[in-house]
């Protein structure tokens, strides 16, 4: 195990920020930490890196016990924090050089690494800018570059894509995947489940400092008790058709709002009823449009376990 956190307890006064938190990540994998605001993701990372003291538990990185004094371990770690940590007084290039230089003494090597990092976040045209002149998204990208320029073996990304536009986000996600392919281990926290689904090999869903479930995306989705949900717009549906749909053996529930022409069909777990549904519509010669199929998401699993949404829709 490259990262091994066991039974971590962290209290802030009365608030239990981490409640016997566990995390295990293997070399070369992208491990996701998914949880709503205030669930303890950042706190978990701070404990992992000995940036704060915790009340119980052990942390092993690279198979060795982590502590604030373990400079040999720190050398192999890159952290991209949720809060932007760059110097307003230094240009983009200088910022990256400064932080990279804390790890890499060799000038030539450092220069090459800095170039690669600038490339990684696509900031070549902004290299002489100082952070106050950068937009929020560009600042985030600089923040990312500062954390990974020294090519660490273990990379911790704490919500690196907040406020980054979709295009740059995809660029970053692709690069993160490329890093993992080079054999780097990545811990990725976010509250965007699409990102987790897109890049994480395994993940933990956490809430109030507790790990609720862990596993691969597929495994976790499979935990959901519900199956497909089909939304379709159709006006003037005959009662007969609705009854036929209700009678389908795969269907759990049907909800129709005639005024809005909105039909929602819930299928039971593991069943796919799209084809049968379409056949019924054809049989009755009924017009429909705007059909979409939703498979259970990580959010649904979270909803089922905690009774609340993972995040507001955004």
């Amino acid at each position: 195990m490259l990262v091994e956190m066991k039974d971590i307890v962290k209290r802030y006064g009365n608030l239990l920020a981490l409640d016997y938190f566990d995390l295990e990540a293997e070399k070369g994998e992208i491990y996701g930490l998914l949880g709503p605001n205030g669930s303890g993701k950042t706190t978990a990372i701070n404990c992992m890196l000995s940036l704060i003291k915790f009340d119980n538990g052990t942390v092993n990185l690279f198979g060795e016990k982590m502590s604030p004094k373990r400079d040999d371990l720190k050398e192999r770690i890159g952290l991209v924090m949720q809060d932007i940590g760059v110097y307003d007084e230094l240009t983009v290039e200088e910022n990256i050089t400064y932080f990279c230089g804390l790890y890499i003494s060799d000038r030539k090597k450092r220069k090459a690494y800095v170039e690669e990092a600038i490339d990684f976040v696509g900031m070549d045209s902004h290299r002489k800018f100082k952070p106050p002149r950068l937009s929020g998204g560009l600042k985030r990208r600089l923040n990312l570059a500062c954390g990974i320029a020294h090519k660490p073996d273990l990379i911790i990304l704490d919500e690196p894509t907040v406020a980054v536009d979709p295009q740059s986000r995809n660029h970053i996600l692709e690069n993160v995947r490329a890093l993992a392919q080079e054999g780097k281990t990545i811990i990725y926290t976010t509250h965007y489940m699409e990102e987790v689904e897109a890049i994480c090999d395994r993940l933990s869903i956490i809430d109030r400092g507790k790990v609720l479930v862990r596993g691969t995306t597929e495994e976790i989705k499979a935990m959901s008790s519900s199956g497909e949900i089909i939304h379709v717009k159709a006006f003037h549906l005959e009662d007969d058709l609705l009854d036929r749909i209700r009678d389908m053996k795969e269907v759990d529930a049907v909800n129709y709002e005639p005024a809005a022409g909105q039909l929602v069909v819930y299928f039971s777990k593991g069943e796919s009823g799209l084809m049968s549904l379409l056949r019924l519509f054809e049989e009755k010669n009924t017009d429909f449009f705007d059909l979409h199929v939703k498979t259970p998401s990580l959010n649904d699993v979270f909803l089922e376990i905690t009774g609340k949404e993972l995040r507001d829709n955004d």
């Binding site: 701070n46 890196l49 000995s50 940036l51 704060i52 003291k53 604030p68 004094k69 400079d71 040999d72 720190k74 050398e75 770690i77 952290l79 924090m81 809060d83 932007i84 940590g85 760059v86 110097y87 307003d88 007084e89 230094l90 200088e94 050089t97 400064y98 932080f99 230089g101 804390l102 790890y103 003494s105 500062c146 954390g147």
Partner: protein
């Protein structure tokens, strides 16, 4: 690594608003404002010699001593309805406009057109002197100067008379006279007016020089905050940048040390620049350059170390830092005697009754050291102050060392 850190830490410090403005520009500007406001004070005192009316009694010889002394320090004046009018144009060296006579000058005193009335009675063995300064002139610098001069003249005069008597008594008892011959001679030729003038001049500039020295001490207090920042910006709990440094493989001690170098040296240079201004404008600072630089450097270092020790022993939030920023200069100014009469009384009281407390205040140590350099006849007490400061610095260094072992969240 050291060079890399020094380069970027120096750059970020010098370019950052907090680092540059608050720790370098601000102390400098405040220092200049204080120093130059005192300079005006001094010039005002020079421009207006104190007008005094002296009623002199006693035997002619001793009367002459008093007259000689007064004449050497001022210019004669004529009594008119407007007050005392000097017979000529008073020069820089004329601290007094004097008039000998027993005229009734109560009205002039009430109007504040003269500074004091003095009665001197030399009839007895001791010189009796009574000085009346009207309340409207009590805070006037010229009156103060005149008072200081006359008062210490009277003291010295009495001492000399007493000494002379003691010497004659020894001679009568058949002791060896050669060792005391000089003193006897001096006593016989009357008062060595020059000696007194010299003492007087020192006492005269004393109070405004005291302000200059207190200001220099006070400036050091600003650097406590610099010390706090040096440690804080290397701590993970202070935010993203702190975290970034804390997670790097460079030890905290090295980072703090380089921060100290890159921030502390500019602070020292700022202070040296202030010193240079003091010397340039001749603000009464001792001309023992090495001594002054030594004591001021130690003061700046103690202040920085104090802040560092504080921040390395305790977890300080932004609010704490703000409180420190506001409180320390105010307390320092208060205890350093920079805030009016009450604060001068306070600082004197502490010096007399709790010297230990005064030694805890770097501002006090600096102004004390500077004062000793300027006014004390030997270096003994100055060295003592330097020793105290060195020990202080060492104790703070140990505190920093202990604090550095703590992880603060």
């Amino acid at each position: 690594m050291t060079r890399h850190l020094a380069r970027f830490m120096g750059k970020t410090n010098l370019l950052s608003r907090d680092g540059f403005l608050l720790s370098i520009i601000l102390p400098f500007i405040i220092g200049l404002i204080f120093l130059f406001s005192f300079e005006n004070l001094r010039e005002a005192a020079n421009l207006n010699p104190a007008g005094i009316v002296i009623e002199l009694k006693g035997n002619p010889e001793e009367k002459k001593d008093v007259e000689d002394f007064i004449k050497a320090r001022g210019m004669e004046g004529r009594l008119t309805d407007q007050g005392l009018e000097p017979v000529g144009e008073p020069g820089d060296e004329d601290y007094l406009i004097y008039y000998f006579g027993d005229d009734d000058v109560d009205d002039l005193l009430d109007e504040g057109t003269i500074n004091a009335k003095v009665w001197i009675d030399n009839t007895g063995k001791k010189m009796d002197m009574e000085i009346y300064v009207p309340s409207n002139k009590a805070n006037d610098r010229s009156s103060f100067m005149a008072y200081q001069m006359l008062n210490s003249f009277a003291k010295t005069y009495r001492n000399l008379i007493n000494n002379t008597e003691a010497l004659y008594a020894q001679a009568m008892a058949g002791r060896d006279m050669s060792s005391v011959a000089g003193l006897v001679e001096r006593a016989e030729t009357g008062i060595a007016v020059d000696d007194i003038i010299e003492t007087k001049e020192k006492e005269g500039i004393n109070s405004f020089t005291h302000y200059v020295m207190a200001t220099l001490g006070f400036i050091c207090l600003y650097y406590i905050r610099v010390g706090v920042d040096i440690v804080r910006k290397n701590e993970a709990y202070t935010g993203a940048l702190g975290k970034r440094l804390a997670i790097s493989p460079v030890s905290r001690s090295l980072r703090v040390f380089i921060s100290f170098l890159t921030t502390g040296i500019p602070c020292l240079l700022t202070t040296y620049l202030l010193l240079f201004c003091c010397w340039q404008r001749d603000l009464g600072l001792s001309l023992d350059y090495a001594g002054v630089i030594l004591v001021v450097s130690l003061g700046v270092l103690i202040a920085i170390f104090m802040g560092m020790a504080f921040a390395s022993l305790f977890k300080l939030s932004k609010d704490h830092v703000n409180v420190i920023n506001v409180l320390i200069p105010v307390l320092g100014a208060l205890f350093g005697g920079l805030m009016g009469q009450a604060s001068q009384i306070l600082s004197t009281w502490i010096n007399d009754n709790a010297p230990f407390l005064a030694s805890l205040n770097p501002a006090g140590l600096v102004s004390r050291g500077l004062y000793q350099l300027s006014f004390y006849p030997s270096y003994d007490s100055f060295y003592q102050t330097i020793r105290i400061m060195t020990v202080y610095l060492a104790v703070l260094a140990v505190c920093i060392g202990l604090g550095m072992r703590r992880t603060k969240e």
